[in-house]
Subunit: 221 residues, 2 copies
Amino acid sequence: MSKKIQLGTKILSANEEYAQQNSKLLRDKGKYCLNMISSPGSGKTTILTRTITDLRDRLAIGVIEGDIQTQLDAERIRATRAPAVQINTNGSCHLSAAQVSSALAQIPLDGIDLVIVENVGNLVCPSAFELGEDGKVVVLSVAEGDDKPAKYPAIFSKSKVLLINKIDLLPSGAIDFDIDKVKADARRLNKNIEIFCVSAKTAEGMDGWYEWLIKAVSRSG
Amino acid sequence: MSKKIQLGTKILSANEEYAQQNSKLLRDKGKYCLNMISSPGSGKTTILTRTITDLRDRLAIGVIEGDIQTQLDAERIRATRAPAVQINTNGSCHLSAAQVSSALAQIPLDGIDLVIVENVGNLVCPSAFELGEDGKVVVLSVAEGDDKPAKYPAIFSKSKVLLINKIDLLPSGAIDFDIDKVKADARRLNKNIEIFCVSAKTAEGMDGWYEWLIKAVSRSG
């Protein structure tokens, strides 16, 4: 007699258990947690370093960095003097809740208000793995094109916030990117998504994101 | 008695079998096949539409389009009058050799010299799944940053060609991208990799890529 084994379900459940533990730990300690997801090179780390620096007097942020290889991103975060734990997935295309669990044990949680997990650069796989976060933030750079919500709907459906980054590249006219189309497509997938158009390089538009962040953290405390 | 089941190995082997069938079919028909891989929005489809158009009199190209959702990319290819088959993976983060096998059955192989498979936008997972191709082409847009070979080494290690795209964005000075560093990092991972700096938008640098492509196809015939 052959038996069908539900492999996919089993693997997700193991992740789900760790995610629930992470969520309970963060709730018990009163810490807010975001899971930041995007393609490689959309500017997640630059958004984080500017956010940490600009909000230094209002919000203590700790970062869990997910990368396949290298400590480069954690080093960039530590240069802001914020605590950062680097996870190297050694080939895996997303962070697992188990990896985040061990990183949470290494980060000085008592000294921070907000944990931001910077996931592996990948617009697809990370959206399927809950880490125990309070919400997801998807980052899309204008250089990636305005068809991305239509082509990669899952992450736009599941995110609390969409940051449209690198808007400083638009005035030159070298990039065709219809912001209104992206906003409409993202809201069709997710009517509650908050959208901020920003340049982490020049700081344009970052204020709206900061206000959202401060409100979200204060509501959770 | 407990037994360890080698799940990963088993799944890769099933893919490997289809990949070998695809490779044999392509070899028997004398067709060259490339597997194009990059992050979302690096410009794969624009590279393809310009390549198809510019080489129209020298090379007949057919395209297999992989996307999670939508027919958008196949429609862009068909606008050049080249044959295109769209595969929608419905959530999966890479093309499988089985999906390419069924697409090869739908594409008019006898009328074309070269099949280019445009994989799902993802710099990680597609590198682990052979499709039966003769070689991989990795595309990196300058907007994604010059740390990508270090952070995502697998695909740079395995590719025959690296296309550094969107170089038209560099003269404005808005983007920090050190081409020499990317070339050195890529060659450290893969000493034989061919590197072309191109703009699929303005056509700058495309000639070198075209020459490589024509030579590769003629050697295989």
